[in-house]
Symmetry: C2
Subunit: 210 residues, 2 copies
Amino acid sequence: MELFSYFRSSAAYRLRIAFNLKGIEHQIRPVNLLKAEHKSEEYLAMNPQGLVPALKINDGRVLTQSTAILEYIEATQSGQALLPSDEFEAATVRSWVNQIACDIHPVNNLRILKYLSNELGADDDAKNTWYKHWIEVGFSALEKQLGDGPFCYGEQVTLADVYLVPQVYNAKRFHVDMSQFPKISAIVDHCNTLDAFIQAMPENQQDAPK
Amino acid sequence: MELFSYFRSSAAYRLRIAFNLKGIEHQIRPVNLLKAEHKSEEYLAMNPQGLVPALKINDGRVLTQSTAILEYIEATQSGQALLPSDEFEAATVRSWVNQIACDIHPVNNLRILKYLSNELGADDDAKNTWYKHWIEVGFSALEKQLGDGPFCYGEQVTLADVYLVPQVYNAKRFHVDMSQFPKISAIVDHCNTLDAFIQAMPENQQDAPK
């Protein structure tokens, strides 16, 4: 399988973690967003949204949207299960996933930040405040729902961790004070001691600047 | 089951459609967002995010996040299947779902629009332009991916329709020119001839203003 990725894309980062956890053989195909490779005719033919990630499966067909890809991987691939077997528990994990995937991440996406400055005249301060605000709103609610670790869902690593780690990576880039969120911080610190998470880090990607 | 809903919430609207399509017995519990009932201590104890919808299942446990709830319903309830049985096809439908649930809807949520005016000084014109922009970006990509109907996924009604219909409802409220999107428009017009969709419409809810 070919995973179209950009080292700093948190949606691609999710897939990299999950593929590592499950031990799925794959090739990373870097898409340089700074060179607008995601807006090339070739890439748009594969993904009309022009976003990373995309996944080309063995028969050449393409899937887009990280959450759809992860559900597909979970349903079709062997290796470490990333959802609890009980459907209510799985729904709880999916709720955490969606709190990040819908209510935190898209609001802080690069295209949104660009719109804020280009169309609404927001300066860097206003953009940083915006960024921190939506992370803090989301993390405050999430912090109340999590237990004592070591993972979001107790002893089992799940998709919730797969989404949380890249989101915290972004939060730190924007200097969010993570001491407000001790449970989230402890879970992410634990995840980041594991090979699957370390190898998926932006700075460890082939397309990261040296 | 008890579905905590607000007539105009599009995430609650999704659940109302799906529950009707599947014929799931449930009671609607209106949560008046204008009276800040979602910020009450009682509601926050159930859903720390303070968002609708939430679902209380028969044993009293609560689920949040529409996409997590819909996956739960799909996995546990009988009635009309809302995902194709083939996993690749299901992933394609989930990709459409997530294009709406992550990349269109949250960016235009009420709390975002409030932030734009309260913190960034955006006037009504700037907010309407913002709203239309993200719908048009999302729908333009989606329009390229859809077939000739009658539903998003051909002859079978799926979660993609469950998400698309409320999003188009919002688009029309904000006067988006839907003639740009003939496939989306035809699919939604078709859905809105069906009882399950009609009964779920905001104006047909018990908490809609008379």
